[in-house]
Symmetry: C2
Subunit: 333 residues, 2 copies
């Protein structure tokens, strides 16, 4: 522990994010205060939502500034502890950021049970999985036999939403930006259909893929795909607004979709934005159900693994252009 390798935000992007907006830095390993533990990061997840904070505007993701460590949720091992309940050697979920070592107060941590794979806390048992679970089941309120549409369907949240939808008896249609992703969703994850939003025939393809319309739309993107979804929604349909990935990597957000609020009225659609943190009191029950699905093999976990802190900037830029399948995880050396 002679130094703490970090990736700092070097400058805030105007327009598209590029790797040169970050720089490597070596800091002191933090000193642990009473009531804190020191965590050595094993891995962290790269998620599109953190891009919003780099705009400097208010966002649920907070507002990182130049010169600070890039934020991320990670898992790691407690290597020093001044908290009686958290012994050295415990595995924890923590807001580690893009760095080797970080100190945290106990209330910022989630202890990972010995029986669970810590890496799953960056995917199906972490924010991504809980977002998929509560967004679909609580916000979307699906009924068996209904049609579920998902944007960014091969992403860290989307690929779990679709599988949970299948487990709950829905027809599942995923929207993604590459043929290979669509093939994976259909062949490996049992999606009923996949539609490529980059094709000129997107709207017609979406229509063919949703012959009975769409009852629940799980929206990870906003923008044009949300606009297309509105035209396919059934009366009394529900839209779970989870993310706006189409708008993160720009300083010129598109106007909102046409048809709002007109189509919401004609079709009595409910749109509801949510953050997974609002369901914190029920994480344990969700983790229990998700764990059972993983153990039975009914839920496939897709990770997209990257090695080394220094790879994080390129991995983030690539993720924002849709390069990932499943949860992109940076493993520290």
């Amino acid at each position: 522990m002679t130094g703490n390798t970090q990736v700092l935000i070097d400058s805030l992007p105007r327009g598209k994010l590029e790797a040169h907006h970050y720089r490597l830095h070596t800091a002191e390993v933090p000193t642990v205060q009473e009531g804190e533990v020191l965590v050595k990061t094993r891995a962290f997840a790269i998620t599109a939502g953190t891009r919003a904070g780099l705009q400097g505007s208010a966002s649920y993701a907070g507002a990182p500034q130049a010169g600070v460590v890039m934020n991320a949720t990670g898992v790691g091992e407690v290597v020093e502890s001044r908290v009686a309940e958290i012994p050295v050697g415990s595995m924890v979920l923590a807001p580690t950021g893009w760095q080797e070592f970080s100190a945290h107060k106990a209330r910022m941590l989630t202890l990972i049970p010995r029986l669970h794979d810590p890496i799953h806390y960056l995917g199906p048992l972490g924010v991504n999985g809980l977002t998929a679970y509560f967004g679909l089941l609580e916000v979307g309120q699906p009924q068996p036999g209904e049609t579920l549409m998902i944007s960014a369907a091969a992403g860290s949240v989307g690929h779990l939403v679709g599988q949970i939808g299948k487990l709950k008896g829905l027809r599942v249609v995923g929207v993604c930006g590459a043929q290979s992703k669509g093939d994976l969703l259909q062949n490996e994850l049992s999606f009923d259909a996949a539609v490529n939003y980059k094709k000129d025939t997107f709207r017609a393809d979406l229509k063919s893929a949703t012959p009975d319309g769409v009852d629940v739309y799980f929206d990870n993107t906003g923008g044009m795909i949300l606009g297309a979804a509105l035209f396919r929604m059934n009366v009394f349909g529900r839209i779970a607004c989870c993310g706006v990935v189409s708008q993160y990597d720009t300083d010129r957000p598109e106007p909102g979709p046409k048809g709002i609020p007109g189509l919401l009225i004609n079709k009595r659609i409910q749109m509801r934005g949510f953050l997974v943190f609002d369901f914190a009191a029920r994480y344990a029950e969700a983790r229990e159900e998700i764990t059972a699905w993983i153990q039975s093999g009914e839920l496939q976990v897709l990770t997209d693994d990257v090695q080394g802190l220094q790879s994080a900037p390129d991995a983030f830029v690539d993720l924002l252009s849709g390069g990932n399948v499943g949860t992109r995880i940076v493993h520290l050396d």
Copy 2:
């Protein structure tokens, strides 16, 4: 009954509606079939929602065509009956359209009790009042002490929403397009504040008028006012999407508001479109409560009265540019 004076749609508007899109016509008085009654129109309401149908596109208001009688909800007297349960002399609410006489099947009618003023069935006891009642209370789910914002607040629905809001213990802020309307809302209808969306200072004025933010927004307009509302909404706020009057009188609808879905997520806002017909099973209970408020003087009914069928086209054009206060009613001679 030698003729039936009607106002026909002469041509469908491209761009703004003008009075010349209508023409007067004299038709035969309809022959009443078994199971039908003949209604002599006493008055009908002119509502912005019927403008949408003139675009020829799908809308909950249906799609009127050139050469047909303009659609409207009216009240009138049964002057001939081939329905045992509906004697001649009954007063009814019916889809009369802009004409003197119309024949209807019994299931298309609402019988108006003798004790009720028939004109109230075009206002607080009709579609407008029921829309205000269910939209605010069921879709908006307000809690006492919360702040309610209403667009088109001096309109046929809006002026009732605000008063019901006051009766339910809310702080009520109305948005309208004229100082005189705002004064009326505050001085006569006990709104807490009124804001003029046509002023350059609209966004600042709205902010001042909603120091604790907005918990429930009753949206009659969509467009720019919806966009401004999104920035004032509180976390877990609710938007009841009732109408899109800003978009009716044009063939070039604006793009949707920025901030959708981004702000819906950050603030966990629920937007829900509704049509009053979805609450039809509960009209009786609503009419009972509204009637009590009218009788006690707690609910003021604003009507904006116009005389004669031939006045209807100008009255509609004027309404679309915001000329009315309360419910615009055309009384037949």
